[in-house]
């Protein structure tokens, strides 16, 4: 099998696992702290559950995506493994 295929498959698996983690963070946090919130406190005018359940994972996903795309992802055929 060609190296690009193996690279791409590994990278795709990496992305899927990361996406599931993001989902667990966002849905888990919001499920516990947003749906059941008796009172919504604000941080800089934004509900706390949006900050910790959406904005923070969004920023983390952005940083991860930048790292993945610019550093981790290999050029075609550049398979050191």
């Amino acid at each position: 099998m060609d190296s690009v295929f193996r690279q791409a498959r590994r990278e795709a698996l990496h992305i899927v696992i990361f996406s599931v983690l993001c989902m667990i963070w966002t849905i888990g946090y919001c499920g516990i702290f947003a749906y059941n919130a008796q009172e919504v406190t604000l941080i800089w005018g934004i509900p706390h559950w949006v900050i910790f359940g959406v904005a923070l994972p969004w920023l983390s996903a952005t940083v991860y995506s930048l790292w993945f795309a610019l550093i981790h992802m290999k050029e075609k055929g550049d398979d050191s493994n």
Partner: protein, 632 residues
């Protein structure tokens, strides 16, 4: 609400001129290249910015700039969770399939998704099945896009006397063209939009679409960031807006007619949409224009919204509410199924809902939507095509990095802007699809730069254009390449392919325009339905096809067929049982999830029940790289 001068019209004309110029340049600059490859795939020459912005602009459809804002306006901060999946959208939609699709399309010479499927499974039937599915779903998808674009045009240019005059002239000259129930200004806006998009798409092809996507991508992000700044300033800071939202109660939606004591004068009586009026101590706002025709004493029934939040009533009536030239009679008022009389419902999920007692976003639906956007984005054939239009992983890597930043600058700010809209533009709850253009006017006038409305409103307009052009071209490419060239006339000349491509592109634009003459309701739901359907039909067959060597033709057909059947059935059952476009959601999960699971299972069963693939296919798709093929 709208400026009385022609500044928006001038801004729109300038924008249109630039878009058409790009199409003309594209047409002339690349005449000598192979027609099909150039017209439908830009000769695989996308660079980083082009790939990122064409991907972003196509994904950010009119739904993002009209449907999504209307949902934020109607349901509040819950939409932050609804859209949260866009945090992984860029890396999923480009990273999972991008590298493989790029390599395979170069090896096989494929220029459409059905092309890839035909090569991979050596099946003309599968290519035709996928082309048919794509054409049907995309045509349905185009109708709400055209509708939203026409609404935007109506809002953008409706205040211009020239526009109003031309709309009336059109109605006079071609009365049979305009349905009796349609607003002539809407129809004129629709025809203008259709003419512009169809002309530049037909004439310029893929490269013109990508160039305009780049322009539109910049317009969108600049428009959103300007609106964010203006909105936060005009509500007195985000903490102020959110504190006010904490006290808000959902309004009541109803209808009203307007009566006169004597027959209306020669030109009739008109009361603008978004006009405030009082009935006793109750405050209402019209959500449609009222017309009492000459010689009559009563208007048709129009949508109205009753404001229920005490502080909003005090704020709006503080300067007095003007007397109307007619007396309002309220016919019905419906309280929200969830959230009526409750403060703070806009601040947390599930959010208020006029029709669903479980609220707008129950937890199961939040799970569904998180998976939905990522799966739908990855499985969109329009996105896959873009992943076939570049060469070199470096382009893909940088495009992912650009897109993830781009989406962060668009979607989260939109949530903030349209939460602020509840304060700046209250009482539009019956026609929330208009909130984007209304906010563009409010914000630009509030900032003392009314001419800027033309630029701000260009953002949703650009979003509609950039999606529509890509989809028209994709349907056209599938029909020309996969039906005509592959099945009917394999030896067709470049010249005949060119004219058939032009004709098909034009025809698809006309079909969508005709559909939008009778605008459907629930635009965002139709966009979700068709977008989901496309993902269910294509994601598993393409992903398994490029990553699983054992996956074969029977698996692909079962995967596509079973997925779309399960998906459509859940909508159909919902349609019959609930008498609504809302689907049945077993375990609270969206039909897309069930359709995708069915698609995976169908693919697995189909593959293991039948034989393996030919050595040639395995070599071409999974073996050592073969020389790149030229496209004829």
């Amino acid at each position: 609400m709208t400026p009385t001068d022609n500044s928006s019209l001038i801004a729109f004309i300038c924008y249109t001129a630039v878009v058409l110029a790009l199409a003309v340049i594209s047409n002339y600059a690349f005449k000598k290249r192979s027609f099909l490859s150039e017209y439908f795939l830009g000769s695989r020459g996308l660079g980083v910015i082009a790939l990122a912005l064409t991907f972003g602009a196509t994904s950010a459809s009119a739904g993002s700039f009209a449907g999504f804002p209307s949902l934020i306006y109607a349901h509040g901060w819950s939409l932050a969770l609804w859209i949260a999946s866009y945090m992984i959208f860029p890396i999923c939609s480009m990273g999972i399939l991008g590298k493989r699709l790029s390599v395979i399309s170069q090896r096989t010479g494929a220029i459409t998704v059905p092309d890839i499927l035909r090569e991979r499974f050596e099946s003309r039937t599968l290519a035709l099945l996928s082309t048919s599915l794509m054409a049907i779903l995309l045509c349905v998808y185009l109708v709400p896009q055209f509708t939203l674009a026409a609404l935007i045009m109506q809002q953008l240019l409706g205040s211009s006397p020239i526009y109003q005059e031309l709309a009336i002239q059109l109605q006079t000259v071609l009365p049979e063209l305009i349905p009796q129930t349609a607003n002539p200004e809407y129809v004129f806006g629709l025809l203008l939009f259709a003419l512009l998009v169809v002309v530049y798409t037909t004439f310029g092809g893929f490269r013109a679409v990508v160039w305009t996507d780049i322009l539109q991508g910049f317009v969108m992000v600049i428009g959103v960031l300007l609106m964010l700044i203006f909105a936060i300033i005009q509500v007195g800071g985000l903490p102020n807006a959110s504190s006010a939202m904490s006290s808000m109660q959902p309004p009541r939606l109803g209808t009203a007619s307007f009566n006169l004591d004597m027959p209306a004068p020669p030109n009739g009586i008109r009361i603008d949409s978004e006009t405030w009026f009082m009935l006793g101590d109750d405050l209402y706002r019209t959500n449609e224009a009222v017309h009492i025709l000459e010689g009559t004493q009563e208007s048709a029934s129009v949508k109205v919204t009753q404001i229920m939040t005490p502080f909003e009533i005090d704020r709006i009536t503080a300067d007095g509410v003007a007397e109307l030239p007619a007396t309002a009679v309220i016919h019905e008022l419906t309280p929200y199924a969830r959230g009526d009389g409750q403060s703070g419902t806009y601040m947390k999920p599930p959010g208020p809902s006029p029709s669903d007692p479980n609220g707008f976003l129950p937890l199961g639906l939040a799970v569904s939507f998180f998976a939905f956007w990522a799966l739908a984005g990855t499985g969109q054939p329009s996105n896959m095509v873009r992943l076939m239009a570049f060469t070199g992983t470096r382009t893909l890597r940088r495009a992912i990095a650009s897109l993830v930043t781009y989406f962060l600058m668009i979607y989260f700010p939109l949530v903030i802007i349209f939460c602020c809209a509840r304060l700046l533009a209250p009482g539009l709850d019956h026609t929330p699809d208009r909130i984007m253009p209304v906010m563009a006017y409010i914000l630009s006038e509030g900032a003392g730069v009314p001419w800027l409305a033309g630029i701000l409103i260009a953002a949703p307009f650009a979003a509609a254009m950039s999606t529509v052009d890509s989809f028209i071209l994709m349907i056209s490419s599938s029909v020309v390449r996969d039906v005509y060239q592959q099945s009917i006339h394999p030896c067709a000349s470049q010249r005949s392919l060119k004219w058939i491509s032009y004709g098909t592109t034009l025809l698809i634009g006309l079909i969508a325009t005709f559909g939008a003459l009778y605008p459907p309701q629930f635009l965002q739901y139709i966009i979700v339905f068709t977008g989901g359907g496309l993902a269910v039909a294509f994601l598993a067959p393409v992903a398994l096809g490029i990553y699983w060597p054992r996956f074969n033709k029977s698996g692909a057909i079962m995967s596509m067929g079973l997925g779309i059947i399960v998906y459509a059935l859940l909508y159909l059952i919902g349609f019959i049982i609930l008498n609504d476009i809302t689907p049945v959601r077993p375990l609270g999960l969206d039909p897309l999830i069930w359709g995708f699971l069915a698609s995976l299972i169908g693919g697995w069963i189909g593959t293991y029940l039948t034989g393996s693939n030919s050595e040639e296919v395995l070599e071409k798709f999974f073996g050592k790289p073969l020389p790149t093929q030229d496209i004829s």
